[in-house]
């Protein structure tokens, strides 16, 4: 690590924004640590910019595949009581969540 002043890849403000997008309530210490760590990691991945990828198709899936079709049949679904057995709160055969609309 050099001590010379370098442009940050990611700011504290952006880290807070990403934490909101990711639905993570991060504490002050976590935000501080993550800003430095993400900055170092983004600095490292910057090297990809050295590669000329003009005209290169992106790969989303390493094994060439066409659409995977199957019979449009029915299968027995998971019974309601099994689907709900791990729910933190369930009421009347439904998952219960905190109030959404004020």
């Amino acid at each position: 690590m050099t001590l010379e002043k370098q442009e940050m890849k990611i700011t504290r403000h952006e880290v807070e924004h990403v934490a909101r997008l990711a639905r993570l309530a991060l504490g002050e210490d976590e935000l501080k640590a993550l800003t430095g760590q993400l900055d170092a990691i983004l600095g490292y991945v910057e090297q990809l910019k050295n590669l000329d990828t003009d005209g290169i198709e992106p790969t989303a899936h390493a094994v060439p595949m066409e659409n995977a079709f199957r019979e449009d049949g029915t299968r027995p679904p998971l019974p309601v009581e099994l689907a709900l057995q791990n729910a933190p709160v369930a009421t009347d055969g439904c998952f219960r969540v905190p109030k959404v609309i004020e």
């Binding site: 309530a25 990809l48 990828t53 933190p88």
Partner: protein, 486 residues
Amino acid sequence: MNLTDLTIHQLQAQLRRRDVSAVEATRAYLERIAATDPQVNAFISVTDKVALAAAEEADRQLAAGEAGPLTGIPLALKDIFVTEGVRTTCASRILENFIPPYDGTAVRRLKKGGAVLLGKLNMDEFAMGSSNENSAFGAVKNPWDRQRVPGGSSGGSAAAIAARLAAGTLGTDTGGSIRQPASHCGVVGLKPTYGRVSRYGVIAYASSLDQVGPLARDVEDCAVLLQAVAGHDPLDSTSVDTPVPDYDGALRQGVKGLRIGLPQEYFIDGLDPEVRDALEAAVAVYRELGAEIVEVSLPHTAYAVACYYLIATAEASSNLARYDGVRYGLRIDRGEGLIDMYRQSRAAGFGAEVKRRIMLGTYALSSGYYDAYYLKAQKVRTLIRQDFLDAFAQVDVLLTPVAPTPAFRLGEKTTDPLQMYLSDIFTIPVNLAGTCALSVPGGFSAAGLPIGLQLIGRPFGEETILQAAHAYEQATEWHRRKAPIE
């Protein structure tokens, strides 16, 4: 000889001759787990009752002469495989009390084959890590030296084999998570080609990279386990519908005339001299056995780690969005509404490395950065994959190190995430290319730590790497050495 020292194929022969019963073998393992696992911490859950019931059923099948290659064999599973009625945590607080209502496909196939499941194995939380220190259930210790890491993320799966706590295990490999711990623990570990084994019922980390594979004492055992779980599954649309070859039948064909490539980019300055020596000795063994050694180039190797940490984290940020405190898992509700409940539950449930990767992935996918990071990484992935296809036009397999060094010390890399990521530099390219590779014991350092060799094969070329690894194993004694742990 102790029952727990036997390979799967040796134990299977004894079970068929009825020299030993499946219940006796299972009890031997359960007793050893109780006595020895506290030193290693390989297990998150031990399922005594389930195991003994399966062993009794296996004994009935053995008595009736209906046994398959895994009937009565005590196995254990990385805690990423969902198991009906058996707690599945993914080594995370967020799933600490999760009891799956179904079995995944690999688990179902093992059970159908008569295997006995001893329990669920420790791992890095959500398979994110290279040292097994990121577990909500404590770090796993390397059976060869308890001051050192077993590797990760399938650290429990590798340590359980090395410490003789299971006859075989399954792990998953997204960036090296089977091969790197296999190398550090001196066992055989195979990552199949993407699509060879169903991912149905495997908790997702990075869906375009995750693959299920076996860890075992020798190459033959790996072939037996792969045979049991490989094949198309209608419940995983990315599983590939190509015939599964007879892996065991391919093992003994030798390597005469086999073309083995040495990629020059894998013999870098940072490579530990003892790892380099092991590789050079292996090259000499292969020459002696009649293989042809060819130098090849994988020119984009240096970009693989950067490429991986964008793609894998982007996919992880999406996959882990499901942990929201609604359908399963931890919920923290302070009475401040739905969004607050999501944020608090996830903050309390996920560990530091998981949060870090969710954050990086969310950033790489976020508006304004998608093209510069995620799309760019996908294009680089194309170049990395093409490197392998070009190399396999010249050679049949590639021989490389698995990890740049033998197992490092516990705590050595926990403060520097980037250094930890770089320990996967030789395993990550294989996942990006989607092809298959294995780690086979290839020697020991002066300090007595195992060093693995990596054999990389063509897509769906598992037979060839098994065959090459078997030939090496037959010519060497490394796999017979036992970790010093009682």
